[in-house]
């Protein structure tokens, strides 16, 4: 019976954390699809979203407005990243783009350190702190917000790519940029929108989990790496795979931490990723593709 109780608690924690990984992973997949770049600065979007919201709110901006502004700030940062770092280096090799985005993530972290310092901050929960009892397990209202917010964001992104002209145009760019350009799609603009959308998802993830976990200027590093892991787990370039990968990673991590040791929590996630990379590099839901010479 005790085992079952604990398992339920791990499940709740796992899905909550996994939701954040899912959103970050989804952001990775969108940028990867649009520009063949793995954006190592993805985790910084989460940090910037959360930290901006915390500081705007502390500065007296009404709660909801602060959240909205934080998302807008992050979107602006994402678009600036595309405009000033990715676009000038569009012919660079894979290794170069990896180093550029790592550089961008260090730069953003350095800026955050200068603006917000090294202290640890938290955000007021969306609605109350009254714990909810779900059988033997407990959860906070914010856990529900995280799960709900993630579900809605994912559905909106899916709708955007399946049913809007802009979404379909971005998909066209990801299949073949030259062909997309020839049928009159503004490829540059689509890239800019992809980065903006991806930053927006990162910011939402940050704002959703900020009331549960604490944030510092370097909180984005691990979140970004976990999001990247989620994207690989689901098969790189498969947006819904990344969402599933994120949830799975969160669950495995929280169960592993509970059963083995919480100190090794992050190691568990990376061992899983190494195993996936060794045995099925195309991810759990990805199609394996041959290399074109």
């Amino acid at each position: 019976m005790r085992m079952y109780e604990q398992l339920l608690q791990y499940l709740i924690t796992g899905i909550t954390v996994g939701s954040a990984y899912a959103l970050v992973g989804l952001g990775f997949a969108i940028i990867y699809n649009a520009s063949d770049v793995v954006n190592f600065a993805q985790g910084e979007f989460v940090m910037i979203g959360a930290m901006s919201a915390i500081f705007l709110h502390a500065a007296g901006v009404p709660y909801v407005v602060a959240l909205a502004l934080a998302v807008l700030i992050t979107v602006a940062v994402g678009m600036a990243l595309e405009k000033f770092a990715i676009e000038p280096a569009r012919n660079a090799s894979v290794v170069s783009t990896i180093i550029i985005t790592i550089g961008a993530s260090i730069l953003l972290r350095g800026a955050a350190l200068l603006i917000w310092g090294k202290d640890i901050y938290g955000l007021k929960p969306f609605t109350g702190e009254q714990t909810i009892h779900l059988g033997p397990a407990t959860l906070l209202p914010q856990n529900l917000w995280v799960m709900g917010g993630t579900a809605i964001s994912v559905l909106l992104v899916k709708y955007f790519f399946d049913h809007t002209r802009t979404g379909k145009a971005i998909l066209a760019c990801s299949y073949n940029k030259k062909a997309a350009y020839l049928v009159g799609i503004n490829v540059k603009k689509m890239l800019l929108i992809s980065y903006g959308l991806s930053a927006c998802l990162g910011a939402i993830a940050g704002i959703l989990i900020a009331p549960i976990t604490f944030f510092t200027y370097n909180a984005g590093v691990m979140l970004g790496l976990k999001g990247f892991s989620a994207a690989i787990l689901g098969g790189m370039g498969n947006p819904m795979g990344a969402v599933a990968g994120g949830l799975m990673l969160g669950l495995l991590e929280s169960i592993g931490a509970g059963l083995i040791s919480s100190g090794y929590k992050d190691a568990i996630a990376f061992i899983i990723i190494l195993l996936v990379l060794f045995f099925k590099p195309s991810g759990l839901f990805g199609k394996s593709a041959g290399e074109r010479v």
Partner: protein, 318 residues
Amino acid sequence: MRLLGLGIFALVIAILPILFPENYYITVVGVTMFFHAILAVGLNLFMGYAGQISLGHAAFFGMGAYSSAILTTKFGWNPWLAMGAGALLVWCISYLVARPILRLKGHYLAMATLGFGIIIHIFLVQYDTLTGGPDGLSSIPELTILGWPINTDLRWYYFAAIVMLLSILFSLNLVASRHGRALQAVHGSEVAAQMMGIDTSKVKVHIFVISAVMAAITGSLFAHEQAFISPDSCSFFFSIELVTMVVLGGMASTFGAVFGAAILTYLPEFLVVFQDFKVLIFGGILMFIMIFLPEGLFVGLRKIVSYLRQGRKECLSS
């Protein structure tokens, strides 16, 4: 002729402490710079020449350093024996992970090496009965060569310089060898290299193991020099710093790697006043170089010089 540059470099290094005796920037920071240079030269073999990427090289450095620290302080081993054991351990581990990791390319390779580095780092922090946890291990004994202890800054300076010069020599020779040409073929196109009869996966595994063992030996030396080691010295950020050194100097240039190591060692020393800006400047340099000078500062500067020379020749001939 090929070794002329190395000779001049060795001469300058030998003279500097005589010109500036007891200078902090020469005998103390200099040793750190030599260690960084060995690491960068090793990583450059793997990244610059073979065209791969490793975001986890600090892990090999850490394994070497911790092997030395644990074996000498907890088991009373001879430092040289401990260093050998550390190198052997890294040789085995890097050989084991090399095959599956090096099958991967690009982003996947970056992720796998990064994951490997983070796993080792977490292990070093968590397994505190052996590694001392986040506090690390201290009072690591000094090295002695034939009864002659290396216990002053100046002695460390010359000892580290010799090791670095040997590693540069090794790298220059390796690159000019048949093996080195095979590496560059792998960099150009793996498929084409295979068609030419090169066992590409074997070539990549070899170079990966070589550069990992170089990092392990440097780690051991570092542990003895500092007499202290903590997980902070082999974090993910240190791996990134090493990549930055290689990239900054210019990939596929041994002296470029040394140059990159020198800049990234001395820059933070001079930026000490701007402590909080260090991270920001680091990121900025990395992005700027990669976007505008993808071949690195050293190679870029050399190109500009040769361009100017050629320009003048053309002026004269016309």
